[in-house]
């Protein structure tokens, strides 16, 4: 992967001021792993497998302590139409997330902390191959944050804690805590048996010192074998991430923009908003329209509609069948490149 760059100590700030951008913050340095010593952990964590209730109690005590310690820094993120998770790693609001959650640089992000507090920010850099992404809270801090870990110290079978907001933020529930072990590791991947789900993407995997070891990336068909991006991938792609760049062909492809947001409705995919002068607006789409079909294919839920848009190219025309009240309409939407900031 030629886009991987060597993490330099305190990468020199090479931000060029751009017009209409908020005041440029200095390019953040590669985060340094927080201090931790395995021998400080209870003996149960050095065993291949716990063998007694006493071992289990030691694990429980540490996990309960960590949950209290690290939870405040785990955020739900909303980028564009979709939501995922992330973790704050500096007082001024640097947030690690997954590349596929960020999408691309300079998008608006709404962060929600576990207590329901929100903050605004932007996506910074993204590497779609590594599935690493960096965001920044632009509202003034300080923000609750956690240390990053050191994967070199991690071992197969290590107990790990997965936090995140599966299914999106829910104030009555807040964070969801899961425990598991590292079950497999390979270049670019950590696999655990922590159960994760849609919406956890970008959320942190913690070691038993409370440091971020990896970021949730993908699930497998087995509930007990899920994928996380190791923290080392963030270090390796740091220059791209911190400079607000985007690495790899997928991310640099122009994205198609429709200018309508859709939500799930008992009846299926219902448009909740249509932006003025957007492709959707120009095609005559209105809020409240029920999208039945795109290119003759059924749209059972709003995610299906968004996937059509995500896979389309700017300039492409999509045939939509919609239902407005009890009228059925056929409309053509010509997709465009997104306006700035979208």
């Amino acid at each position: 992967m030629e886009n991987i760059q060597t993490p330099g100590p305190a990468a020199p700030a090479k931000t060029k001021p751009k017009e209409a951008e908020p005041p440029a913050l200095p390019t953040p340095a590669v985060p340094k792993p927080g201090p931790a010593r395995r021998q400080d952990l209870p003996a149960a964590f050095s065993k291949e497998v716990p063998t007694s209730i006493a071992d289990l109690r030691a694990i429980e005590q540490q996990v309960k302590k960590l949950v209290r310690q690290v939870s405040p820094a785990v955020v739900a993120v909303e980028v564009g139409y979709a939501s995922g998770s992330g973790v704050v790693i500096s007082a001024d609001g640097l947030v690690l997330s997954a590349g596929h959650v960020c999408g691309r640089p300079r998008r608006d992000v709404l962060f929600t902390f576990p207590d329901g507090r929100t903050a605004r920010g932007k996506t910074m850099g993204v590497d779609r191959d590594a599935d690493t992404g960096l965001m920044r809270i632009t509202d003034p801090g300080p923000w609750p944050h956690v240390a990053v870990g050191d994967l070199e110290e991690a071992r197969l079978g290590d107990w790990v804690l997965a936090l995140g907001h599966p299914g999106g933020f829910d104030l009555k529930r807040s964070l969801v805590v899961r425990l598991g072990r590292i079950i497999r590791a390979a270049p670019g991947i950590v696999q655990t048996d922590c159960t994760i789900n849609s919406g956890d993407s970008g959320g942190p995997l913690f070691d038993m010192h409370g440091r971020v070891l990896a970021i949730h990336s993908a699930i497998s068909s087995s509930l007990a074998e899920n994928f996380h991006v190791p923290i080392t991938e963030f270090f390796d792609t740091w220059n791209t991430l911190a400079a607000g760049g985007s690495a790899n062909a997928l991310a640099s492809q122009p994205r198609a923009y429709v200018g309508a947001s859709a939500a799930d409705d008992p009846a299926g995919c219902r448009l909740s908003a249509v932006e003025k002068n957007s492709p959707a607006f120009n095609a005559g789409l209105q809020p409240g329209d029920l999208v039945l079909k795109v290119e003759g294919r059924d749209i059972p839920v709003s995610a299906t509609f968004r996937r059509w848009i995500a896979e389309a190219q700017p300039g492409e025309t999509l045939n939509l069948e919609i239902k407005r009240g009890d009228k059925l309409l056929s409309l053509q939407v010509k997709l465009q490149t997104p306006p700035d900031g979208k």
Binding site: H100, R155, V177, A186, G268
Partner: protein, 396 residues
């Protein structure tokens, strides 16, 4: 930068890695095949970019297939709910197994049960007790008959009499649960069925959405009927397009969201009273909440949700007054038993497998209240049952 890539398992100074330990790799662990299976069936976490991520998943996974070696993976029996790990919980299982029964309907396992009375009373998940011959397995390896005595529909709990002596009522834990504490699901065997931790503190869980069959007029924020779904209760009750909904169950409403919000608290089969305003006229309509199943009238307007990303879930998975959320991967037919802490005390009763990451348990205090209610109605039920002979599970 290959040399910078993580080298977890082979790092020098690594203590006995599971791969190099004398424990033989378990037979069900076949790494290369498993790697292929995983990559081929990767499911993305982020619906919007599904395809892009699956592509990403392939790139992420392919190195595993190339470089994968036996010592790079943890044997499956060392997983959190692997056999070896479960052995650490054995003393809990031994202490609780006589407080647990395993229910069968016509010979098929449908649920566990939690013994609440030495005379053979047990609680279980009501919706899993289908009509048929009800028996249960005991820890002593005996199969005995059982009779359904009563059901709490709101919380989906059933009270059952088990024809057995020597059962031990479960001990209920007092006090609060904490996020991160072990949540153990013992069965009638030597080791638990599965283990997990508390993922989120107890809260109310809303029911699965059910419908009255009204599509609102989206040209106005007012709760004005736009369209009626044929065959559902609003159409049957004579509502018409243009009608305004003024109140639901006595709560005045002025916009669509309020109506939807109130209706969210009612589950399938329950009835709501809707105050309807039509020109100068106002009247009440009594509407039954419905979830149209595929093939039924109205189903095309309320499509079934996509499968839950590969997880098997309970049919009745939502709608509880209060539930503890834990991350135990529990098979839906193993609900109904106690959820215990490391002291072997029940912190709750497993009531539903709800998603890939979610299992719900009714908290101990709520379960004890439900038991008290069901138990107070029991003498009457048992007298009737005795008169009728063996009581059949009511069709529900």
């Amino acid at each position: 930068m290959a040399s910078d890539l993580p080298q977890l398992p082979s790092a020098p100074g690594t203590p006995p890695s599971t791969g190099s330990s004398p424990n033989p790799a378990p037979s069900n662990h076949s790494p290369p095949a498993s790697g292929n299976r995983l990559s081929a069936r990767l499911i993305c976490l982020f619906a919007i970019l599904a395809v892009a991520l699956i592509l990403g998943g392939w790139t992420l996974v392919s190195p595993v297939q190339e470089t994968f070696q036996e010592d790079l993976a943890l044997p499956r029996n060392y997983f959190r709910s692997g056999e070896q790990t479960l052995r650490a919980f054995a003393s809990l299982s031994k202490a609780t197994r006589n407080s647990i029964v395993k229910f069968n309907v016509d010979g098929e396992t449908v649920a566990l049960g939690t013994v609440v009375d030495a005379a053979g009373l047990a609680l279980t998940k009501a919706s899993e007790i289908k009509p048929g011959k009800l028996t249960c397995w005991l820890a002593s390896d005996k199969e005995v008959n059982a009779q359904l005595l009563g059901v709490d529909d709101d919380e989906d709990v059933a009270l059952v009499r088990v024809d057995a002596k020597g059962l031990k009522p479960i001990t209920w834990a007092a006090g609060d649960v904490a996020e991160g504490q072990w949540a153990v699901t013992p069965g009638i065997a030597d080791t638990p069925n599965a283990v997990g931790i508390i993922s989120a503190l107890p809260r109310r869980i809303r029911p699965q959405r059910a419908f009255i069959g009204v599509q609102f007029d989206f040209d106005t924020p007012l709760p004005r009927v736009g369209m009626l779904i044929a065959g559902l209760s609003a159409q049957k009750a004579g509502l018409k397009p243009g009608d305004l909904i003024a109140a639901v169950n006595g709560n005045p409403v002025t916009n669509r969201e309020q109506v939807v919000d109130i209706l969210r608290d009612f589950r399938e089969g329950q009835t709501v009273t809707v105050r309807v305003r039509r020109a100068a006229e106002e009247f009440d309509a009594s509407l039954k909440m419905i979830v149209p199943r595929s093939g039924e009238e109205g189903a095309e307007f309320y499509p079934q949700r996509p499968a839950n990303l590969g997880a098997e879930v309970s049919r009745r998975a939502l709608g509880f007054e209060r539930a503890i959320e834990h991350d135990t991967v529990l098979q839906p037919w193993l609900c109904g038993g106690p959820l215990v802490n490391l002291d072997g005390q029940a912190i709750g009763l497993n009531i539903a497998r709800a998603s890939r990451v979610t299992t719900y348990a009714l908290p101990a205090a709520l379960v004890q209240r439900i038991f008290a209610n069901l138990n107070s109605r029991r003498p009457h039920v048992e007298k009737t049952a005795a008169r009728l002979g063996a009581m059949k599970a009511p069709s529900r």
